[in-house]
Symmetry: C2
Subunit: 341 residues, 2 copies
């Protein structure tokens, strides 16, 4: 084996609509050295998330600066500390943090980075999925923003997705009736058999989405966990129960839109039903992450939280895999395996 190198995927140009492979650029560099207070991480897994698409667009009053042209693609990784100039990290520590689509990252050990608790005997990749931002987004979005009460009806869009499937299961654990929306018969089948949703709605089947929601939620929706925006949000707003909460988690249906999205025409329903719509960025809850990870880990160990990880081998396949986030062809959490442990 030769001298180790750092392969990286850079942003070559800003995508118009759906990203294309030519929007990315491959670069091979030397392994960087950590400066004062920094650590060198060898990345083991890279998480592919819809939010990355937003960071590829020019900044528009967003919660993260955009990735600059020529800069490394941004993403959450699990890595191992290989060198350290930071007293908080020892060589051999495993960490989860916001880094890049690259084999080695330099971190100053601040911001969005956290050590993986060694006592949780679960696969490292879980810390990008069910125990990572995916699971934490589901956990805080449902429990803190939604505030489910026993017996309430929880509607989840993109329910077969990484976040949605966990939302549904936590809602079950909390004693709610769960209704999941997904595209196609097969995914709807999985919602019932794998994730235990009480009812499912196939948004690709013929008929009005609003009618389908109304018939699955006859007492109205108490919590709508919205991963998609668009016309499913419109339909859900027309079926709210009094005191409903709409948790805004994402709007994947609009991420690749070139023209400004039109908002729901029926926001008025929030007023009619004493309801609210609330957005959140999971990092808001960063101080509560350790407790949440422990709880999620317990549920996984007890078999109460099914989750699905789909692995893609090799950084060179990350761009292709990323595009699959938007065509509905994947199931569960998409993770790029960057190399041996």
């Amino acid at each position: 084996m030769g001298k180790p190198v750092n392969n990286r995927v850079m942003l070559r140009r800003r995508p118009e609509g759906l990203p294309k492979k030519t929007d990315f650029e491959w670069r091979t560099e030397g392994v960087p050295r950590p400066g004062d207070g920094q650590v060198l991480l060898r990345n083991i897994y890279l998480s592919l998330d819809p939010a990355i698409r937003g960071w590829m667009s020019p900044a528009e009053n967003s919660y993260q600066p955009p990735i600059e042209i020529g800069e490394v693609m941004r993403g959450v990784t699990v890595g191992r500390v290989e060198e350290t100039n930071n007293a908080n990290f020892a060589v051999g520590d495993y960490v989860m943090g916001l880094n890049g689509w690259e084999q080695y990252s330099i971190s100053n050990g601040q911001g969005f980075i956290s050590k993986i608790p060694p006592h949780l005997d679960l696969p490292l990749s879980n810390f990008l999925g069910v125990l990572g931002t995916t699971g934490l987004t589901a956990y805080f979005g449902l429990l803190e923003i939604g505030g489910p009460k026993k017996g309430e009806t929880v509607l989840v869009s993109a329910a077969a997705g990484a976040v949605g499937s966990i939302v549904g299961q936590i809602a079950q654990i909390k004693g709610c009736k769960t209704v999941g929306i997904a595209g196609g018969k097969e995914k709807c089948e999985r919602l019932k058999t794998v994730f235990g949703f009480d009812e499912t709605i196939d948004y690709k089947a013929s008929g009005s989405i609003e009618e389908k929601i109304r018939s699955s939620c006859p007492a109205g929706i108490d919590i709508y966990f919205d991963n998609v925006g668009g016309e499913i949000l419109d339909g859900a707003l027309n079926c709210l129960a009094d005191g409903a909460r709409v948790v805004m988690c994402g709007a994947i249906s609009t991420y690749n839109d070139e023209t400004p999205t039109t908002g729901p025409s029926n926001l008025w329903q929030l007023l009619v039903h004493n309801a609210r719509m609330e957005g959140f960025i999971v990092s808001k809850f960063v101080s509560e992450f350790p407790n949440a990870i422990s709880q999620l880990g317990r549920w996984v160990s007890e078999g109460r939280l099914q989750h699905c990880e789909e692995f893609v081998d090799g950084l060179e396949n990350a761009p292709d895999a990323f595009l699959r986030l938007f065509d509905g062809s994947h199931s569960g959490k998409l993770i790029v395996n960057l190399g041996r442990l």
Copy 2:
């Protein structure tokens, strides 16, 4: 004087866009007699509110059934109990409740009706305005839905209006910075001199509303009390501070629209700023009305809550006066005086 009659204003046809005088019909009937459990009210004041416009349209999943064609127009009145078959009400009691555009109403004493506390030595008309649904909407919307904290920035649209002007003053009392939006120089002047807003924005002046909001709220908006919807809401959403609350109180800019309203294209800002948008119907807080009315009454007596009532004499002038709600030509609370006390 002849035998008393009951003059009433009925809904003749559903308005298209702005209501016209020909949408109303005048009818003179005999004074009704209360049945079992009912009371006969002689209405003294009738409140004219934008929400009535909504009740004139066909029902669309609203919080109130529509007024039927040929039915009496609906509105909040202050009246005196003239006859009673209900043990909870005595002849001579004054009550505020949801009745009709008519001189006499029959009430079963249930639902939206409450006795006016005799110990509050304030004019009866106040119980349609600053101590009625107007003041209560401002009070609960700001304090319960908005939850203002000292030092926060509160933006209010239709700030010279009946609700908005009270919101601004309560926000001042709670130690917030207040920014009021109104149309025209004169109204903006009143916002400062009469209602004590810290800053004002004239939405009719040239320039982008978003720029004006941003320059008046350099630290971002903590609470936006939205009375109008439309493009002012769009502008405000782009200027939210982290953790912002948007209180949805009304959307007067859209009440007369014939085509479905387009929602804000930038709801995404709720997510970016961990913010929420929440609607409410004031009757949700009905059990807390007595305490709120006492508090509002104290502030009025202490001179801390300026309010303005504009009287229109005679039920026959109610339709014309109602139309003025939508052309910005009134200031303060519009009240129809139905006759002597």
